[in-house]
Symmetry: C2
Subunit: 309 residues, 2 copies
């Protein structure tokens, strides 16, 4: 199945206790598409960059068979740039700067051959931009959406109306608690799904993720890693891996959703082992499959019955 991913393509300045990168390739659309490519056969990227965006970064995506017809180039502006510094525990970070540049006027028009993409991934953007992409999509099978505290706080109405139109919301635990105004994640999930999304995925960083679908709650831990270099993009890589896996399935049922959650977790775990998206550059399917087996060992309750003494 074809997959469309709209989001940012950016310059990232990243500082972690383990190193530093300046003007590295970043952005949600970058991570979404690089993570989705392992299962999706037709990946359509939608984003905008400026006149300072280097051809070598374009080549990173093109050489990995990501369709860039939807990558708008603005000759009159600079590329969106973000800088962040992670705390020693990697669970918190300070934003050093956010230069919107081209993003301030981003109003994407989908290339004609994008409009029939079967799976649409709305990366974290202004809800009105996410909605305009949905307006141009021709009845996709599944629409996934990410958002962040900024939009929850500043554009609640636009976000609310968008939630009524999507199938799957992918947010982190602090965003879920804030959106539902409830500290209990299970209660928060019920309240958020009542706003529209049939499927809700709550990302919990080092604690893994929870998926709510129908009457089902499904939990996956994070893959246990001793050496985490940079958490940047892990959430987008998770969403991209999740959506990419589903795009490789003949049918999107509960088993497929569970497999996709594991798949997304695995791809995210490779992402954080290197800086920026570097962990996704050379990643291979056999490496992914091997770590999926490790996930089974990590979570499978032995099948022999627990004795009811």
């Amino acid at each position: 199945m074809s997959l469309l991913a709209v989001g940012t393509v950016a310059f990232d300045q990243i500082e972690t206790p383990f190193g530093k990168r300046d003007r590295a390739l970043g952005g949600s659309a970058t991570y979404l598409t690089l993570a989705a490519r392992f299962m999706a056969d037709d990946i359509n990227l939608v984003a905008v960059v400026g006149n300072d965006f280097p051809e070598e970064f374009v080549e990173v995506l093109r050489s990995r068979h990501i369709n860039l017809d939807g990558l708008e180039r603005r000759s009159d502006q600079k590329t969106f740039a973000w800088g962040g510094r992670y705390h020693y525990d990697l669970n918190n970070r300070d934003t050093l700067f956010t230069d919107l540049n081209v993003l301030s006027e981003f109003n994407p028009t989908l290339p004609a051959h994008y409009t029939n993409s079967r799976i649409v991934c709305l990366g974290n953007l202004d809800p009105s931009v996410q909605a305009s992409v949905m307006d141009q999509a021709d009845n996709p099978d599944l629409v996934l959406c990410d958002t962040m505290n900024f939009w929850i706080e500043n554009t609640p109405d636009a976000l609310r109306s968008l939630l009524g139109r999507i199938d799957c919301l992918v947010i982190n635990d602090s965003e879920a608690r804030e959106m539902a105004d409830d500290p209990n994640l299970i209660v928060a999930a019920r309240k958020i799904r009542a706003m529209g999304p049939k499927i809700l995925i709550i990302k919990k960083g080092e604690h893994g993720a929870l998926m709510f679908a129908g009457e089902t709650v499904f939990s996956v831990p994070a893959y246990p890693l001793e050496d985490i270099q940079d958490p940047t993009g892990a959430g987008d890589a998770f969403m991209g891996g999740f959506a990419g896996y589903l795009s490789g399935c003949s049918e999107i049922n509960l088993d497929a959703l569970k497999h996709a959650l594991v798949y997304g977790s695995v791809v995210a775990s490779f992402t954080v082992e290197k800086f920026g998206p570097e962990g996704l550059y050379e990643l291979s399917r056999p490496q992914i499959m091997q770590r999926i087996d490790a996930f089974r060992d990590l979570t499978t309750i032995p099948l022999d019955a627990i004795p009811n003494v």
Copy 2:
């Protein structure tokens, strides 16, 4: 297999957003034994209470077939009392008071028929008291130990020497990070196991628990609950359920340890649904078995292979 649990039997004052209890039955030994009783056939409690401890609380334990020959009564002192107030999110609490009373001179002598207990649970106490109980135990099959930040910070040497003698350490994630002085739980686990315990269990509250045994890492989520009344004693109930399950096994192998981790999580989940230990009073094995099945649904990755497209 017989199980010995040493810890506190206390008066708890509990305040949560959902209610309040004054002079309720509490203490680690209370939760450990009440949680262990569902699988253990012979539960030996070791603790001390004062002249103000009511017979009705003694009866709560005795009526549930917990051996109280090791419950010392001090006629000259008051019972240990603790008071705590939980924040709105239940993940943090403020200690309102800690009246050690009888606990300040607690130096337990095991009844003769306790000394051959096969599983020994050392509830959170001064490491020197935990060590003295180990000294009196006759070569148990498994020794489990809990501790807390206070002992990590104030009696590091006594705790270190104890860690060299036990089989399984059960602590929460903040204690693990502090003990190992490392923010990464996987690194922390390696460092802590190098201090002695072959098995390490890290409790993560609403995020479940991690078990490290041999080369295995095993993860269980917390049971998804919308209605949590009081987290008090959840960690002790978890440890009691874990140890109690193992005491019902003919052999303590990796599968048994995994089952025990699920069993402890289930018993803990029933504990937090009511105030104090009330959730453990009427709990039945069928209820536990039913929730164990729910845990399988919550964590089992569907067995059909993930297509390697």
